[in-house]
């Protein structure tokens, strides 16, 4: 799995996915995409397969973090626009209890 060809493919796949996600970045697509490219270019001369895999794993971690960012941002915006804060707290407790029973 850590043959150079596979690693190269993994890196390129990761890059494409991060660039795709970067389109929605709150500070701007450009902001994210230029920094993402720079980050990948900085490591392009790395040859140690273990090190490369570690960098890929870090990239995947960043991808998850961004997914969480987007998800939370959207949730908070909807919550603020459509729901009364006091009612939300009430619902929170009740839903938690209901789900525990299931």
């Amino acid at each position: 799995m850590t043959s150079p060809g596979n690693l190269r493919r993994s890196v390129i796949q990761l890059y494409k996915e991060l660039q795709y996600m970067g389109r929605e970045y709150p500070a701007g697509a450009d902001f994210f995409q230029t920094r993402c490219k720079a980050a990948f270019l900085k490591n392009r001369h790395e040859t140690d397969p273990e090190k490369i895999q570690m960098l890929i794993d870090r990239g995947r971690f960043v991808q998850k973090e961004i997914e969480a960012l987007y998800s939370l941002r959207k949730y908070r915006a909807m919550k603020q626009r459509y729901y009364d804060q006091d009612e939300m707290d009430l619902h929170s407790k009740k839903i938690e209890n209901f789900v525990k029973q299931l």
């Binding site: 796949q13 494409k16 996915e17 795709y20 996600m21 929605e24 709150p26 997914e67 987007y70 998800s71 941002r73 959207k74 949730y75 915006a77 909807m78 919550k79 459509y82 729901y83 009612e87 009430l90 619902h91 009740k94 839903i95 209901f98 789900v99 299931l102």
Partner: protein, 255 residues
């Protein structure tokens, strides 16, 4: 209980994070060149269908959207999240702004006749018109029970137990299938449609239909007279002490 077919509706609207600008003619908002995406509540709807499929309650998820050609992107996102196939009911660009909930409900009732789902899940409300009507209208047209504002849905023996978020609390109801549900924000956490999933979704089928072919008259029943920005917030007054505060309040008639 297994092997249900679910029909999920979604709509392409101006992205929730975009700053809305009113058109110069005050009859709508600027949509040209503006980022569009799926309504967050519709994402909850699709996510719920996908989770039910993962639990083997649902066998097939059909996602449908009514709108211009670009609605196909929204359908692809739904397919990337896990829907099996899509239906695009195409409405010419320009007239889609006049596509109102009643027309959409009628279109969906025809889709129900065609696809014969056991369950229809829609998003609670669109974030552009905030109508919150399509689910209710559709349930009425079909004469099916409805569970709107659903924040918990549990399936058992041909029935669904739904917890609804209503003013002042939560309401638990039980509905028999077939039924129509509208998804609320807290129903689930929608998954992100990653690039690999979007690519895989390109292989899934999207059927193209139009309102005329379904025999639905989509002419609007409501006419938009005027669209304006909310009033600009006035700056407040700072007062040096309590006495002045009381005076000002009395002046304005608040005491």
């Amino acid at each position: 209980m297994s092997g249900l077919r679910v029909l999920v509706g979604c709509k392409r609207v101006i992205d929730y994070a975009v700053k809305i600008r009113v058109r110069p003619d005050s009859l709508g908002v600027v949509t040209d060149g503006v980022k569009h995406s799926m309504i967050p509540f519709d994402e909850n709807a699709i996510e719920e269908a996908v989770r039910m499929k993962q639990k083997k309650i649902v066998k097939e998820i059909v996602v449908a959207s009514c709108g211009p050609a670009q609605s196909q992107e929204t359908i692809r996102t739904a397919l990337a999240m896990g829907a099996d196939r899509g239906i695009h009911v195409e409405v010419p660009a320009g007239t889609d702004a006049n596509l109102q909930p009643l027309a959409v409900a009628k279109i969906f009732s025809k889709l129900v006749e065609k696809e014969k789902p056991d369950l229809v899940i829609l998003g609670k409300q669109a974030i552009d018109d905030d109508a919150n009507q399509t689910t209710q209208l559709l349930a009425g047209i079909l004469d099916w029970p409805q569970g709107t504002m659903a924040s918990v849905v549990a399936a058992k023996d041909g029935n669904l137990t739904i917890t609804r978020e209503i003013d002042g609390g939560l309401e638990d109801i039980s509905v028999s299938l077939p039924a129509v549900i509208s998804a609320d924000l807290r129903l689930n956490e929608p998954r992100y449609a990653t690039l690999p999933n979007i690519m895989k979704a390109k292989k899934k089928k999207i059927e193209k239909l139009n309102p005329e072919g379904l025999g639905v008259d989509i002419s609007p029943r409501l006419k938009i007279l005027n669209v304006v920005d909310p009033p600009v917030r006035q700056a407040g007054d700072k007062v040096p002490d309590v006495t002045t505060l009381m005076e000002k309040l009395a002046e304005k008639g608040h005491l």
